[in-house]
């Protein structure tokens, strides 16, 4: 048994962390929050240049074919950096969907572009705010997609979208849609985290291609894998928020002392830490289940997500609180983490969806879930 990272994996983390701290500073995130665009294309390009976007893509398609654990490390560092980049939709969902469920020609068409950073594939699974793929009403008839998908993140920056829609038999499948088609229109939304611009995409009979492997069970597994990666991203985010708050508690003085010497502050920080570490333990199990193809992936993904959601919400809210008056000003950093935390919740759905996933999995036994 070995429930930790190897030296090679630690080295990967250090390299990426250095690169991100050069590019994706919190000042850049503040800037992205103010601009209409939101997206931090410079960091995305730097990630591509460093080979990070092709990490999990097979060598044949321009990637380096590393494993799920390495991808989890990248997710955690992206989360920690708060970089305004579409990591979760592109690397967490679109890439594995295309690679594991797509045809040879779909892979050839899209994977190299993803690895090189010149092609963003957005994920349009949710409708009307609900991201459970069981509740989809968009429909494909004769390879033409009609329906509304919302919210879609980074829609304006994407060339393609991975769309969940009903096939003619009424089964949810995944399709690839070219967003430059004139039958596609994009309506921007007002998101709590404007560094991940959200929109509604309306498809009026848009031409799409089916991912042939995307049966419902495969879609669930895809979402479980994405939830594990998202948990790492959430943990990175929560840990940075904690570290920021810890530093503030050591620096800020009141009543002649550092406020971190008061138990009200110290013990709250300890609670943040404990929640984050609990989430990390569950995420580790998720990464192992994802990497090893274990049949406890559904369970592992659900518990990883539930504890990550809890850790992020507690840590980011209390980070604002422990920063005192500064904490609820726009110019300060804590609200960036609060906003991103909600955004990461939005992407794969809130706790109640994952509680049901967990209980159904435990009730049916792990085998039935995959």
């Amino acid at each position: 048994m070995n429930f930790g990272f190897s030296d090679e994996q630690d080295a990967i983390r250090d390299t990426l962390a250095r690169m991100l701290s050069d590019h994706a500073t919190l000042a850049v995130v503040h800037d992205c929050l103010e601009t209409a665009e939101g997206f931090d294309s410079a960091t995305w390009a730097a990630l591509a240049g460093g080979g990070w976007l092709g990490l999990a893509i097979a060598e044949d398609y321009g990637g380096s074919a590393m494993g799920a654990v390495e991808l989890a490390i990248v997710a955690e560092e992206i989360g920690r950096s708060l970089a305004a980049v579409p990591f979760a939709p592109v690397l967490g969902l679109a890439t594995p969907a295309i690679q594991d469920l797509g045809t040879q020609s779909q892979k050839e068409k899209l994977l190299p572009g993803i690895a090189e950073g010149r092609l963003i594939v957005a994920t349009a699974l949710a409708e009307d705010g609900g991201s459970a793929p069981e509740r989809v009403s968009a429909k494909v008839v004769q390879d033409r997609l009609s329906g509304r998908k919302s919210p879609v993140l980074f829609a304006a920056d994407a060339s393609f979208a991975l769309v969940a829609a009903l096939d003619e038999g009424g089964t949810v499948r995944l399709y690839l849609a070219d967003l430059s088609d004139p039958s596609v229109s994009i309506n921007p939304h007002d998101a709590i985290d404007r560094t991940r611009p959200a929109a509604e995409i309306v498809f009026h009979g848009a031409p799409v291609e089916l991912l042939p492997g995307s049966d419902p069970a495969a879609i669930r597994t895809l979402l479980d894998g994405a939830a594990v990666l998202a948990a790492f991203e959430q943990i990175g985010l929560a840990e940075r928020a904690l570290s920021l708050t810890r530093d503030y508690a050591c620096e800020r003085q009141a009543f002649g002392r550092q406020i971190g010497s008061f138990q009200a502050v110290k013990h709250r920080l300890a609670d943040m830490f404990a929640k984050i570490e609990l989430a990390r333990s569950n995420a580790f199990f998720g990464a192992w289940a994802l990497a090893s193809g274990d049949n406890r992936l559904a369970e592992a993904a659900a518990v990883a997500r539930l504890s990550a959601l809890d850790a992020v919400q507690f840590t980011t809210e209390e980070s604002v609180q422990l920063h005192g008056g500064i904490g609820f000003t726009w110019a300060a950093d804590p609200h960036l983490f609060l906003r991103r935390g909600w955004q990461l919740k939005a992407e794969l759905g809130p706790a109640d969806l994952w509680r049901e996933r967990l209980l159904c999995d435990l009730a049916n036994g792990p085998a039935a879930a995959n």
Binding site: G129, G130, D190, A191, H335, A346
Partner: protein, 408 residues
């Protein structure tokens, strides 16, 4: 134990309501939600002044002030009744709360005759608008840690420093300002209070943008502001004592004040009947029901706690630490309700399709609630107040009490 108006209270309510009916328009529900104590623009300030002067003419301004100072000698409950009744009308925001609620009573106790004659009538009629220049970047929870310096030069004081979290500073005419006049004594002992003109060019005001996007507070920069010694309120080095009077009156004003908006927990019932959870109406889900019921129970408790506080005020008790209970519980409740509402309104929590939709509404609640947990004394400070002043627990060990401020 009676929840209804006494006969005297009912009579007061009828009189207030009659005058309001004759002088203002009833709200019809179409008004935009807004902070009751903040003006959005100069026009609103002007309308607020106009309304205030009409109230003053008719004897409805400074209700709880003594008659000697132009007030009505009203009981705290009467003030509450007035607030309830006035709340039914579309009136401008009450930008005079600090002047009438905080500064006026402080001047009555600590002011010179000149100060009383100069400032009290003009506060009542709305001619002057006051702001409170207490908090500083390095002195929030620990207010006695202020660094703004006032040096004596002949018959003048020269004041420099920075204040923060100042509501309404940008349209205020006057400010009540706490400054350090003697850094060579322990921190609580070397402060003095001043009454200053905000129009002085030595004062610069900058709005602070909050995480909700709006700006209710300001930073105030003071650079060699010169004021005569007659601007001093109370004795030299007695600023802390004067400040405590202001703060006690602040607690009183909050206790009887009109609740500043905020969502009702019942609104979540309405939302839950309109949205789905796991494929069924959310209001059929046991967890949704449990959380909403608990929110309602907590919100009712806060409402009834404010009645208990008013009852004890009307019995002549000083505005005490009981107010800390409501203060402590309100912010967290609003924050939890906001988060729950946002999540309930859509899996895509926090993403609003159009302004004013459910998500936008609860998101705003969620992003303004953190202010409730900090402003006016953080949750943590409230717990210490309850622990030490109500429960009589031993104080924190203080290492800064007997040391000269300059040595800290």
């Amino acid at each position: 134990m009676d929840f209804s108006d006494s006969p005297e209270e009912a009579a007061f309510r009828a009189k207030a309501s009659d005058w309001l009916d004759a002088n203002a328009t009833r709200r019809d529900g179409s008004e935009k939600a807004q902070d009751h104590f903040m003006a959005r623009d100069a026009d609103e300030v002007a309308r607020a002044r106009d309304w205030q002067s009409r109230k003053a003419d008719a004897g409805w301004a400074g209700l709880t002030w003594p008659r000697a100072f132009g007030g009505r000698d009203a009981t705290p409950i009467e003030q509450v009744i007035w607030n309830q009744e006035e709340g039914r009308y579309a009136v401008p925001p009450n930008v005079f709360l600090i002047g009438i609620g905080l500064v006026g009573p402080t001047v009555m106790i600590h002011g010179t005759d000149d100060q009383k004659t100069t400032f009290l009538p003009r506060a009542l009629t709305g001619e002057d608008i006051w702001c409170q220049l207490f908090s500083e970047p390095a002195a929030g929870s620990d207010l006695a840690g202020i660094r703004t310096r006032a040096r004596r030069e002949g018959d003048e004081w020269v004041i420099s420093g920075q204040k923060v979290w100042t509501s309404g500073a940008h349209y205020s005419t006057h400010g009540i300002l706490l400054a350090r006049t003697d850094p060579q004594v322990p921190k609580h002992k070397g402060m003095t209070m001043f009454l200053v003109h905000m129009s002085d060019p030595a004062i610069e005001t900058r709005p602070i943008r909050q995480i909700s996007g709006s700006s209710s507070f300001n930073e105030v920069f003071i650079d060699d502001l010169r004021v005569p010694d007659s601007a001093r309120l109370g004795g030299e080095s007695e600023g802390w004592k004067v400040a405590l009077t202001t703060l006690m009156n602040e607690r009183f004003s909050i206790s009887v004040g009109r609740a500043s908006g905020g969502a009702r927990a019942e609104e979540l019932i309405d939302l839950a009947t309109r949205v789905e959870r796991n494929g069924r109406p959310a209001f059929e889900d046991g967890e949704v029901r449990a959380r909403i019921a608990d929110f309602i129970a907590r919100q009712r408790g806060l409402e009834f706690t404010s009645y208990r506080v008013m009852t004890s005020l009307s019995r002549g008790d000083a505005p005490g630490e009981e107010g800390s209970i409501g203060k402590l519980l309100l912010g967290k409740l609003r924050q939890e309700m906001g988060a729950f509402g946002m999540e309930l309104a859509g899996t895509a929590a926090g993403i609003s399709a159009k302004s004013g939709d459910d998500v936008a509404r609860w998101r705003n609640e969620y992003l303004t609630a953190p202010g409730n947990r900090i402003a006016g004394g953080s949750d943590e400070i409230q717990r210490t107040i309850i622990g030490e002043r109500i429960l009589g627990l031993p104080p924190e060990i203080r290492i800064d009490k007997d040391v000269a401020f300059s040595e800290l």
